[in-house]
Amino acid sequence: MRTPLDQLSVLLLLSAMALYAIAFVAFALDLARRSSEATQLADARAGVRRTTTAASVGGGGTAVLEAAPPAPPLIVSAKRTAARVGVGITIAGFVLHLGADVLRGVAAARVPWANMYEFSMTGTLIMVGLFLLALTRVDLRFLGSIMTGLVLVLLGIATIGFKVPVSPLPPALQSYWLVIHVFVAILGTGFFTLSGAVSAVQLVQSRRERALAAGRPATRLRLLATFPDTNRLENIAYRIAVVGFILWTFTLIAGAIWANHAWGRYWGWDTKEVWTFIIWVIYAGYLHARATRGWRGDGSGWLNLIGYAAVLFNFGVVNVFFHGLHAYSGLSS
């Protein structure tokens, strides 16, 4: 039913998307700026190296340094005007997005995550929200274009492909487990998204570092010099993924409990259950990889991305094309 509330929700969502698009451009400008900063930084570093060489030649000091000399500051200009603008606009987009989501829930008189359209809308909202939240603790603004870009693509697919009018909940979904299970899944997906984005950057950074270590000049993607190093990126990705994994564990358990209420068995290898399990196992593998010799670094980074690919597959492909008891896409087949 096209209620006025639902129409307003769509309007807000489209406006939020427009803002995200602008934020995307702002973040991209920031990346472009970083590129030129990195060049300056490389020049500055070369200068530092020249002076230290001169000093040691002249001094012939006796002091034994226990720690390495402090690295030159990674970030030359801390201002990042473009990135700040990006963050501001993303916040504004988030507010509209939140409004759209709430209105959809009010229009349907239930939680706004009962079909794929709503799931996408709430899921992307959580992604943006977590990204903004993370910014208060770590400077992840370099992820701005990945995050806003991804959210835009997902929302685009949702509004074009998954849009369904407000409709009542079928009896199988009338359960508070819908609220718990699906919301925890959405939240977990949000953390996995952020973690995956960090891992993606980590993998690119690692290529650059390997090139540098091999003495080859890393001329491509100089802006990476302004990003944290692979080790730090890996730690950030891990920390975020850990939260995602805990939430996913709850998703799995809550799903099993719900299945037990609704279908009389807690586990039946239904397609959706299978994929939830696969995702859980891949991320368990990822946590192991971090503690296994030979799998640190790129290995674990790739596993994180594979896990995220499974998350996207589970949502985008399994819901729409696979048959199973979890037929809740709201799309008629």
Binding site: M1, E66, A67, V164, P165, V166, S167, P168, P170, P171, A172, Q174, S175, W177, N235, Y238, R239, V242, F245, I246, T249, F250, I253, W258, N260, H261, A262, W263, G264, R265, Y266, W267, G268, W269, D270, T271, V274, W275, F277, I278, V281, I282, A284, G285, H288, A289, R290, A291, T292, R293, G294, W295, R296, L303, A310, V318, F322, H323, G324, L325
Partner: protein, 543 residues
């Protein structure tokens, strides 16, 4: 062996630098070597990934357990692949030999990994923290300060502070070595051991379960014994006495459909089954079963998983005797409850003239543009039952159980159908009776009731599984969220006659708060030293 030999960690390795293995050819060494491979971190990781990959095909190809009809359709549309698929057990992936092999190996690896770690951890729990490293400056978190004062007092103050932060402290000469967060490893072990518990209870528990289906028409009573189930699958340890005595009468099944929202017209909003249950020695009880709300009775749970219409049909022979009379469950075919059903009238005057009726129920009938009947709403607005008629031998005497939804027409002849001179017979509320062709008799639609498809499950292991899941989650949370740290304080004489205080820390695994913990410890320690008397204020634990 404490942790797997290829366990890598940021922090304090309990690593045994075994180095490259050089297995001599003795059988024992080989076994040991193989065991070490199986319980290594890499193997665990690869087995986990293998498990993830192996689970995929079961989601691509329909499974006998979850979707038997899908299997039949798949076989029909891929006849060439059926042989391969059967050979690879692709219709039973999750019980297949290869899937089981992977999880059994993982299970063995898990046990082989966890048991020695538990033994090691128990020892570590009682041991004193290790000696202070000689060069604290090498550690990931380090801070050095100078202060006037007395070394013994500085060490005392440090020990007090660390103990207050729930570190276990040992004094080695001029230094303190402290450790906290043993709970992290405890949690990790609890998590892995909990997984073993979950798997074992699922496996053992499956022997005691049973799952049965029963289609019950309004007014009918189901009695809980084996012959009353339409289908019943049981675990290894099932006996007749597993079924506790009770009966359940379906008084009514009400279904509400959306009537207003045009986007969802006819979508079901609610199913409510009212039942009366009787157990020996008790008064009958009226209960309600809903979709997400099963009925607990006799150690089992009764679920409402499906519904449909069951027209009550009476077929009379030409001489007026009753050939069949009863409720016939029809199977829903679409969202408007167009339903397909079969009536088998066997008590005819001669076996060669038994009657089979195959046809559709349209709860609210409408016409397609082709002229064919269809249902336009799922509730009984204006029902029509339309039957093709077959005459001949129903084949019920063969003894083989027959599918009630299928008519075996091999020894029958169609006598009424759209394509024949005799058109299908049609029964409505206004015209509930029709005459069969060839003088076979009459058919009467007595009424239409609903039926509930009930699933009855008994799984005594659920409590165990749930208990182990709770332990597993508790273990996971502590293991991932409790930091495990070592902290050191070294007090040496400064060149200027004061004290040099060195603080250092090391974490197991990833620990974002390590630097801060050292900073805070150093800060508190300095304050304590500068204060005239040792302060007695409490420092919040867990920093």
């Amino acid at each position: 062996m404490s942790r797997p030999s290829d366990f890598a960690d940021d922090g304090f390795g309990d690593l045994r630098g075994d180095g490259p293995q050089n297995p001599r050819l003795g059988a024992l060494e080989w076994l040991r070597w193989a065991w070490r491979q199986l319980t290594s971190m890499r193997t665990a990781l690869l087995l986990l990934l293998a498990l993830a990959v192996a689970a995929v095909p079961g989601s691509l190809i329909p499974q006998n357990s979850a979707d038997p009809n899908g299997v039949i359709n798949w076989k029909a549309s891929n006849p060439g692949l059926v042989g391969v698929a059967n050979a690879l057990q692709l219709f039973d992936v999750y019980t297949s030999a290869w899937f089981s092999a992977i999880y059994l190996l993982l299970f063995i690896s898990l046990v082989g990994c966890v048991v020695p770690r538990i033994a090691y951890h128990l020892k570590a729990l009682r041991a004193a923290p290790p000696r202070t490293p000689s060069r604290l400056g090498r550690l990931p978190a380090y801070r050095s300060e100078s202060s006037p004062g007395d070394p013994a007092r500085a060490l005392d103050a440090g020990e007090r502070l660390l103990r207050r932060r729930r570190y276990r402290v040992a004094r080695y000469g001029d230094s303190l070595s402290a450790e906290r967060g043993y709970l992290r490893e405890t949690g990790n072990l609890l998590f892995h051991a909990g997984l073993v518990g979950v798997l074992v209870s699922v496996f053992v528990g499956s022997g005691f379960t049973y799952t049965g289906q029963r289609v019950t028409v309004e007014g009918e009573t189901f009695v809980n014994n084996q012959s009353n189930y339409d289908s019943l699958s049981t675990g290894r340890f099932f006996t007749d006495s597993t079924l506790q005595p009770y009966s359940l009468r379906l008084d009514s099944l009400t279904v509400k459909y959306e009537q207003q929202n045009p986007a969802a017209l006819g979508e079901p909003l609610d199913y409510t089954a009212r039942v009366t249950t009787r157990t020996p020695g008790h008064e009958p009880v009226h209960r309600i079963i809903k979709v997400n709300d099963p009925l607990e009775i006799g150690g089992s749970a009764v679920y409402l998983l499906g519904n449909g219409y069951a027209p009550h049909i009476t077929v009379r022979n030409a001489n007026g005797s009753i050939a069949f009379s009863g409720s016939v469950p029809f199977r829903p075919q679409d969202s408007n409850m167009t339903s397909l059903g079969v009536v088998k009238a066997e008590h005819t005057t001669s076996q060669a003239r038994q009657i089979g009726l195959v046809g559709f129920l349209y709860p609210t009938v409408g016409k397609l543009s082709t002229g064919a009947d269809t249902s336009i709403f799922p509730s009984l607005g204006d029902p029509l039952v339309s039957f093709n008629v077959w005459a001949g031998d129903l084949g019920l005497n063969g003894g083989a159980t027959q599918n009630v939804y299928v008519l075996d027409t091999s020894r029958m002849k169609q006598v009424a159908a759209r394509t024949l001179a005799n058109k299908p017979i049609q029964l409505t509320r206004a015209q509930p009776t029709a005459t069969l062709p060839d003088g076979l008799g009459t058919v009467h639609l007595d009424g239409i009731a609903r039926y509930a498809a009930l699933d009855i499950h008994h799984d005594p292991s659920q409590g165990w599984v749930a208990g182990f899941v709770v332990l597993t989650v508790a273990g996971l949370l502590t293991s991932l969220l409790v930091p495990r740290r070592r902290m050191w304080l070294k007090v040496t004489d400064d060149l200027d006659g004061g004290l040099r205080l060195e603080y250092a820390a090391l974490a197991r695994g990833d620990d974002p708060g390590l630097e801060r913990a050292v900073g805070e410890f150093a800060h508190e320690h300095r304050r304590e030293l500068e204060a005239p008397t040792p302060s007695a204020e409490r420092v919040p634990a867990g920093v």
